[in-house]
Symmetry: C2
DNA sequence: GTACCTTGTCACTGGTCGGTGACTTGGGAG
DNA sequence: CTCCCAAGTCACCGACCAGTGACAAGGTAC
């Protein structure tokens, strides 16, 4: 530890190092020994302050943004529902692509049971219900459209693309076009 | 080994055990020691016959079905393009949901670099190009629709759902409805 | 028979893992 | 100052890991 004996600071350092290690190498590669070394403290402190690795992941899930926090575009402006939805989904996508921690967190949800994956799922559900209710107050949704399911579908698709597709401008344009195509076809009668 | 000294049979037993272990616990949990014990042979044979774990995964990718092999429905019959596409995507989905090895293989593609993930990606691309060309010969595709991108989008969405959603009848109906909604909106002008 | 090659077994190394108990050090309260 | 508790260090454990070299056993060609 660089500074003096400060429990809160050590705790924060451990969390920060955990976030960096996960962003760099994924949750599965995070171990007590490497984390302690990266944080510059003894591993026994991880057990004392967090009760173990699971506790670190839980704290990370409680304190960090693990799913993109997108803004609903153009409240009251001229954006149509399809444009707003498209913008939300694409913004989720670029946020994940640009943030290694978000990517690894999304991957953590799919790679077995761990505290990080559960936190990711919870955050995503919360954000999505916010988005849906916001969209429903600012736009009229056609009765034959299940907006929740549509958002889930598009979001899931771009999540998987972010996880497995190399990050090229061509891919970007392709996805953008496709999302726009679907949103327009469904929401502009 | 139960039977006599037979290189091919031992090789096949190792591959079979690897498939079962992956289906049960995922690729990351597969090690040389557990695999050798499950196959009932010495681990040195894994090195001799496959050159190591990566070789086992490569052989598995070459010999096994790792992405659903769906049939294009209703050649020449009354199925519309949107019905055919919907059926393809949903069939991919139920196949993955019903086969633990397929699920773990799909997860392997997202969890870092390994031979299994590469094999999965290759198989998926092959199947999808087959599907696209088949659909294009039996149906007329509206010019404003990027059928490749649409299949990728819907397939990615159901893949992620299969990976992270508990397998309930409600979820099934929800997804079925949504996929149908998107396919109809886009492909029935 | 014998010689030889392949298949399979065994024992071992060096390293990393998670986890724990015993210890030292610092800082604040009295 | 002294006392005491929290913060931090150190050494160690048993278990598991991938990988290797030496050896035994079986089958086959001659």
């Amino acid at each position: 530890m660089a500074t003096r004996r400060d429990r809160f600071e050590t705790r924060a350092t451990i969390l920060q190092s955990a976030a960096e290690l996960i962003a760099a190498h994924g949750v599965r590669a995070l171990g007590v020994n490497v984390l302690a070394e990266a944080a510059g403290c003894d591993k026994v402190l991880i057990y004392r302050y967090f009760g173990g690795l699971d506790g670190v992941l839980e704290a990370l899930g409680a304190e960090r943004m693990l799913w993109p926090r997108v803004e609903i575009e153009n409240e009251g402006g001229g954006a149509s529902l399809s444009e707003a939805l498209q913008s939300v989904v694409l913004e989720e996508w670029v946020s994940m692509w640009g943030d290694a921690l978000l990517l690894q967190a999304a991957a953590a949800e799919l790679g077995g049971n761990n505290a990080l994956g559960r936190a990711v799922a919870a955050q995503r559900e919360e954000r999505h219900t916010e988005i849906i209710s916001s969209l429903r107050t600012t736009h009229r949704v056609p009765p034959y459209v299940d907006l929740d399911a549509l958002l889930e579908l598009l979001s899931a698709a771009v999540t998987l693309f972010a996880l497995r597709t190399p990050r090229t401008p061509q891919a970007w344009r392709r996805i953008e076009k496709t999302i726009g195509m679907v949103a327009r076809a469904l929401l502009e009668s």
